[in-house]
């Protein structure tokens, strides 16, 4: 049966990719979380009958742009933190005593910190695998957690506020030039518009 085959492949792929890389799993499922949460936000607008059609044409692109800011900033920041931490461990910049001794024994201390050097490619890597893997996984998980905190709780809200403020200014400028051209939001004051934007951008629902 094709669908059961597909599910079987999915399970195997998940096991192979994330079994040894919990840090990657946290980054990728984090991105998936943001995508699904954004989809929920957009569909909440699309399927809401109480929102007039002309307002939807204004709100939907805004929701999509908001989602793009959330997803891109989360991925860029979290994966950069995770990749840097991985590189520090795989090139031997960040080690434990047994790993350092292993590198000394292999006479590769001059290669420590080289971009192309990777401890996992050494011929006798299996001798240190038991010590190296849990250390690398732990560092990866800590780095991706710190990256997520910085991204979700500091950078994204600030970027989103800046974006909202830019959008407000653009809309207000259009209002001043020609109020006839402004389809939506119609008939509201500048203060009301700023309040609405502030409420909308005070942190999206994250799943």
């Amino acid at each position: 049966m094709p669908s059961s085959n597909l599910f079987s492949k999915f399970k195997t792929t998940l096991y192979k990719n994330y079994g040894e890389n919990p840090g990657n799993m946290l980054v990728h499922t984090g991105v998936l979380g943001w995508i699904l949460s954004s989809l929920a936000q957009v569909s909440a607008v699309v399927f809401n009958d109480k929102i007039p059609k002309e307002q939807k044409s204004f709100l939907i692109p805004q929701e999509i742009a908001d989602a793009a800011v959330n997803i891109i900033s989360f991925y860029l920041i979290t994966s950069s933190f995770k990749k840097l931490a991985s590189k520090l461990v795989s090139t031997g910049k960040l080690t434990t005593k047994p790993i350092k001794e292993f590198l000394n024994k292999n006479k590769v201390t001059d290669k420590i910190g080289n971009y192309d050097f990777n401890i996992e490619n050494l011929p006798n890597f299996k001798d240190i695998k038991g010590e190296y893997k849990p250390f690398k996984n732990g560092i990866d998980v800590i780095a991706s957690t710190i990256g997520s905190i910085i991204s979700c709780n500091i950078i994204t809200p600030v970027v989103r506020n800046q974006y909202a403020s830019k959008k407000q200014k653009q809309a207000l400028a259009r209002m001043n030039v020609n109020t006839q051209q402004l389809k939506s939001p119609r008939g509201i004051s500048i203060e009301d518009y700023q309040k609405m934007a502030s409420m909308k951008h005070s942190g999206s629902l994250k799943i």
Binding site: Y18, P22, M25, T29, T91, T95, P134, I139, V141
Partner: protein, 178 residues
């Protein structure tokens, strides 16, 4: 394209050169790192994110000078409510789904019903390995994310509204006493 890659690698290498070499020798520190790799699943990460969000996001909203004080107060209340509701459902649904996946990803055997192996990948011989635990976390998280697409509306949104109203009312009562 390749020259761009060479330039990127060179920049990365220069950055690596700036960083000092570090060797962990503290055994409790190493244990903490190992535990983080083994025990922090997406559920624990969501809890950490929620706790740190409570320390930063209301502060950012409270200092938004683009809006008047009243709007700022409501916006802070709504942010706190969103974080509490999102963290509560996010943590428990992830935990629950990971637990459920554990129950339905057993090793096939004569005494094990087929439905209990529905999430077990092919050719698995060991289910107590770290790799398999991470697989269960990943699968549980993916299932949880799908579940949360619905609970986002069914639980998070009404809970956020309820908590926001409570927090705003508390603030108003406090102001009335003053």
């Amino acid at each position: 394209m390749s020259s761009l890659r060479t330039y990127a690698i060179k920049t990365y290498q220069n950055f690596l050169n700036i960083l000092p070499n570090a060797e962990y020798s503290n055994s409790s520190g190493i244990k903490l790192v190992h535990d983080a790799g083994e025990k922090i699943s997406s559920a624990e990460q969501r809890l950490i994110l929620g706790a740190t969000a409570l320390m930063s996001q209301p502060f950012i909203d409270a200092h938004n000078r683009n809006v008047d004080e009243n709007t700022r107060r409501v916006s802070v209340a709504r942010t706190i409510a969103k974080i509490v509701a999102g963290t509560f459902t996010g943590f428990f649904i992830r935990k629950g789904c990971i637990k459920a996946i554990k129950a339905f990803s057993q090793l096939p055997g004569p005494k094990v019903p087929k439905y209990k192996t529905i999430f077990t990948p092919k050719d698995i011989t060991k289910i107590n390995s770290d790799e398999f635990i991470q697989y269960r976390n990943a699968m549980g998280t993916i299932v949880a994310l799908i579940v949360m697409m619905f609970t986002n509306f069914a639980i998070d949104a009404p809970l956020t509204k309820f908590l926001t109203n409570k927090l705003v009312k508390k603030q108003e009562d406090k102001n009335a006493v003053k």
